[in-house]
Symmetry: C3
Subunit: 273 residues, 3 copies
């Protein structure tokens, strides 16, 4: 089932419009290409509506938010809504500044998102729950563990119900939920948090997966999260003694490039709740 | 002959001013260093004229065009023209939005370019021919093949005649032409299209080649295109089973770093028409 | 002693606010993670004060200076001063344009820096000495060698005395000085100048070192410079025949990831003057 989601990306190679940060943008472009889709980055208000019109999906990431691109995010999001294109929100650092929190909330008000993907602190911020954000990383006190799993699944389902979006909370354990059903995913490797942009890359790739599987957003998002985690595991196995986080980043993208529907199907570790 | 072009880059190590997109800018800087030149990136209207004055060449790339940098592109281009410095245009995504098409055309009106490098869809857009741009990639219906080769060579020569610039159309087959003479280049590997920025990197490197070979722009541009394609071939040979597009990107830049005039001379595959 | 500085980074993993250029920002983020700290990039005037408040250190880099971010640099710097957070300045390309020189001087006037790190041409420009900047690289005529070492140490001590900041002049030989004491460091490899961003990466990492060692800024900065140079040496040893500057960049970050206090202590090559 999850393998089929990847197969559809490779067959349809959707064009994905990214309005994203300048820190991890190159990795986002390369991972979108690696999974079989095509990226275009564009954030000027003078062209975002046209660009999103020729694409199959839109990825909005507030990682280096600035006042020029907020109107672009809103305009592109509305146009994508109008055209029925899937739209993903990555609320990077929501909770770390009022600008980020307020912008994420304003985007939620004005745009219907298909998927919202963030770490637990960011998602709690959007849910209006008390959260502690440490910059762009989740705060340790928020970490999802076996004890907090059930309550986090409920939080995700509730936020999904309120927003209409699939909610993807990623961390040591990942929760991908709509209002009724949740995938609990246990792929991944702790070293992924020592690379900048694993979250951003996952969001860009998830946008490609949902664009190629528009009738099946929940499974598509779950497949993308499993793919990222699985490739994090495979890339970790490949590390030699002298490799560090820079080589690890390259190996993860390489593994995404070499991932097949069969490997994904076989390597995905999840349960449904 | 083409080897000599590279030798001149390595001996003169020209400083190249880049006004470029934030997606591939790091790769552009590293490939300019790899080939023996030096990059400086600067796009603020408050300094672009001064910066371009201390450089030997200017590379203008509209990959993430925004309204702030359009005046900078124009000002820097005019200053470079005034000083007699070679200027290259990479019209990334021309045809994909009015902003890109109109800006590319306005730049063509106001600045004399030494080289214009793009994919076939972008160049057709500039030539006023009907083209179909799929985001930042050439559309399949536009692809240059043996059947369309002659007509594409004619299109390039005509556009060169109109603009005074060497026209470089890159893809599976590359055509580098002035108004009278065209290099048909058959270096490269299809996997190069699975990396973001091979086009941008080639443009930045071409700016270095023409800056170091100002009396011989056509051969300089042809040499840069052969160098990129050849290094794409060599890097492909180096790939192990687990490597993907991220490692491939690194290997291409590495091969440019290790490329010698002799290797280029020997590996270049071209005919002249 | 220098090993202890790294140990403190690894134990405290400080969060570092970076207002930096879009060329090398990804490498800066990854090297900050590699050394054991966490990066956040943020440059919008609407959030920089809040962001810097949740961080332990601030890194200001003028590599792709633009008029929007200058007020952000000033606001964040003043806020960091107010909170007693260490602030580092990397005056990339000071001397190459009036905008860069004037902005660097204005920042020096308005903000108390803990460390200023640049190449010799940039530091001479700030010191008001006659300097010749070749873009973002030091000019050869300015290069620090055994003959000019003593005068350069004096220049660094004087500038430190005037500004209150530790001065880090990096190149073939590195000089890290406060008003009374200077570390002369001889780690490194010439190939480091063939990668974009070794200077930027060092600045970002130095911000992490000083944030974790606020009582000992001089030693912390010296330790960061030794760490970068040592990892440049180790990464160079790892190069295979086909590797070039792109792999070298990855290997340097990898070596920083694997660097231990013991390895740093043992590999650091310095004398104190």
């Amino acid at each position: 089932m999850l393998g089929k989601m990847l197969e559809n990306v490779k067959n349809n190679h959707p064009l994905i419009h990214n309005i994203t940060n300048y820190v991890t943008v190159n990795d986002c472009a390369n991972i979108v290409l690696a999974c079989g889709a095509s990226p275009i980055m564009s954030d000027d208000i003078g062209e975002v509506c046209e660009i999103t019109s020729i694409c199959s999906g839109l990825n909005i990431n507030i990682g280096t938010l600035n006042s020029n691109t907020i109107p672009s995010m809103k305009a592109a999001g509305k146009k994508a809504n109008e055209l029925g294109h899937p739209v993903l929100l990555d609320p990077v650092g929501a909770g770390a500044s009022s600008l980020r929190t307020n912008t994420a909330c304003a985007l939620l008000d004005e745009i219907r998102f298909s998927v919202i993907r963030g770490n637990i602190s960011e998602i709690k911020t959007l849910a209006g729950a008390s959260a502690k954000t440490s910059g762009v990383d989740a705060d340790e006190s928020d970490a999802v563990n076996e004890n907090s799993l059930e309550s986090t699944v409920n939080l995700a389902k509730k936020l999904s119900s309120r927003t209409g979006a699939v909610i993807a909370i990623t961390g040591a354990v990942d929760i991908i939920a709509d209002s009724e059903k949740a995938y609990i995913i246990r792929n991944g490797n702790p070293m992924m948090s020592r690379i900048t942009g694993t979250g951003c890359m996952l969001s860009a790739m998830t946008a490609a997966y949902i664009a190629a599987n528009q009738d099946n957003m929940l499974e598509a998002a779950a497949a993308a999260v499993c793919a990222m985690g699985l490739c994090g595991e495979l890339a970790f196995e490949r590390l030699s003694e002298r490799d560090g986080n820079s080589s690890y980043r390259n190996y993860i993208i390489d593994e995404i490039y070499n991932l097949t529907p069969e490997k994904l199907e076989k390597g995905a570790k999840y349960e449904i709740k």
